[in-house]
């Protein structure tokens, strides 16, 4: 073990310990808040695979998040008693389907065009979900009950806010480790070389478009997982989450936290939600918190494009 890996895993362990103990000491509101930050963090992290590693900015992550959410809703409403694993399965299938569709078309275009087409495609899903009232509940969305945490034949317990937090933490940590492994694998190296120089990567002989499609799908599946977790935590699915605002927030989390770090976007999500909460407490619920956040966002792009964790980017990816 090198010194770097020792420090890295020590830091990882400390952070995990803090996040495991946190729900035991935090009051109910902040416990839920922390869980939600982790879920938004997972969404942001999934999009970091595209923004930070493949060099493609996605403005359409709401589609994957939303399809995960509605996929979970479908499973929870159709099968009784509601089953957590089935919800995850359905959500992931939904998100993967959406991701395949978006990836197939939008990877034909690059850079800005990719960003625009992902945005437009996510809007297709929004329009379908919003207008197909019979199935999706339209504007009102769907309400369902939270599934139990169960392993067949072994045990079956009801989620409390603490155990739900641990479950979310486990899923997010697992996703982080998987994504980290992916970005360090030969596959991840190809993605990064696409980011650095697409033409040269193609010239070396890599099927660039196929790599991009896989990377969009991978990113979409993890975004869908975040959607499932959100649905399970809040017991509803609403078209608002499929709307562009969710995608926009995801991009903001990434820029604030630092792209290409995987942890950064989670920090960005936490920073965003904390700032929002503080501002609504100090200035009242009606305060348009997105105005100061927008200023911070613009200033970050101009003066600190690396984001809050940018200074640690190399170290984290080692």
């Amino acid at each position: 073990m090198t010194r770097h890996t020792k420090i890295y895993w020590a830091g990882f362990a400390v952070l995990m310990a803090v996040l495991i103990v946190a729900p035991l000491v935090l009051p109910e509101f902040w416990r839920r808040f922390l869980t939600e930050v982790l879920i938004w963090g997972l969404l942001a992290m999934s999009s970091d695979l595209l923004i930070g590693y493949t060099g493609m900015v996605s403005f359409g992550h709401s589609a994957f998040f939303g399809l995960g959410m509605y996929g979970a809703a479908a499973a929870l409403l159709m099968v009784s008693p509601p089953n957590l694993w089935l919800a995850i399965g359905f959500g992931l299938i939904g998100a993967a389907g959406a991701a395949l569709f978006v990836a197939y078309f939008s990877t034909r275009l690059r850079d800005i065009y990719f960003a625009i087409t992902t945005l437009i495609f996510s809007q297709i899903f929004y329009v379908i979900i919003f207008t197909w009232t019979k199935v999706t509940g339209g504007e009102n969305g769907l309400i369902f009950t939270r599934p139990h945490f169960s392993i067949p034949l072994l045990f079956d317990i009801r989620f409390t806010s603490t155990t739900l937090h641990w479950f979310v933490l486990a899923v997010v940590t697992g996703s982080y480790l998987i994504l980290r492994r992916v970005t360090q694998s030969p596959f991840g190296m190809v993605l990064q070389s696409i980011r650095e120089n697409e033409a040269r990567t193609r010239a070396i002989g890599y099927p660039v478009q196929r790599y991009k499609i896989v990377s969009v799908m991978l990113s979409g599946i993890f975004a869908g997982l975040a959607g499932v977790l959100y649905a399970v935590q809040n017991e509803f699915a609403a078209p608002d989450f499929v709307y562009f605002v969710t995608s926009g927030d995801t991009v903001i989390f990434n820029v604030l936290g630092g792209i290409g770090t995987l942890v950064g976007p989670i920090v960005g999500a936490g920073f965003f939600q904390l700032l929002r909460e503080l501002m609504s407490r100090v200035f009242g619920e009606q305060f348009p918190y997105l105005i100061p956040l927008g200023f911070i966002f613009i200033a970050m792009i101009i003066f600190l494009p690396q984001g809050l964790l940018g200074f640690a980017r190399r170290w984290l990816n080692k």
């Binding site: 900015v57 403005f59 078309f105 939008s106 034909r108 275009l109 850079d111 800005i112 065009y113 960003a115 625009i116 087409t117 945005l119 437009i120 495609f121 809007q123 297709i124 329009v127 379908i128 919003f130 207008t131 562009f244 926009g248 991009v251 820029v255 009606q286 348009p288 997105l290 105005i291 956040l293 927008g294 200023f295 966002f297 613009i298 792009i301 101009i302 494009p305």
Partner: protein
Amino acid sequence: MDAVIGFIQAIPLDLLIIQTVNGIVTGMILALVASGLTLIFGIMDVVNFAHGELFMLGAYLGVIVVAATGNFWLGLIMSALVVAILGAALQVVTLRPLIGRDPLNTILVTFGISLILQNYALWQFGTVTRKITEPISSYFTLFYLQYPWYRIVVTGLSAAIIGGFWLFLKYGKFGVWIRATTQDRVMAQAMGIPVPWVFTGVFAIGAAMAAASGVLFAPLGGVAPTMGLDWVLKAFIVVVVGGMGNLGGSILAAILISLLEAYASIWVDPSRAVIVSFVVLILTLLFRPTGLFATPK
């Protein structure tokens, strides 16, 4: 076969003509929005995400000036001027520092601007939809409809603005500067053209075009803080279908998409008719990813 004939016979011809007129009216407004977007992209490599918000802000300024003075045309001019100045200021403060960086940064920055503008409008004006009364209240008879002349005037005016702008690009001194900068930025600079100011001017013109279309649209559909996203999305579809940076292509694409949407809304709910433009986009991406009207290089 009978089914096909039945379907063709079931098409109400009068409705089709009415929808054609409607499609061209919205198509021309969309063309005005999209040509601002295309202009900014074609010359500066900037995807202006805030374009829809400039449209929305222009419409609100129109509402304010019309409410204060009662003169619609004054509102149109004032709004275009104010938004042009705002656009110039935004360009200097946020986009100029990004010249030479990855163009993706510009879409992020303009996204930030759109966030601020939209939330400012929400905070300032609330969610209630406002409307301007049509400055021309006379009608003509189109089948069983009393069709407002104003819509025809809007179409002509949009066409005139785009045409005037085209002439300006072709013959005006600043227009020549703009074209020179598009062709070769470094060379233009070497010839003494103040390139950074050309960018600022272009952004201001694009912003003014967005604001003008916002004011023109306000009597037709009302003004709401969230209208920007719908328009910028449509404009994005138009510029991708028409070929990014291609002025003529965007105008044709704007009219094509608006016509198709208008026809589609004969049979389906207007909120679903949007899907038609998505389909056009998908087909374009499949068969002509550089744009329907792009000239092959």
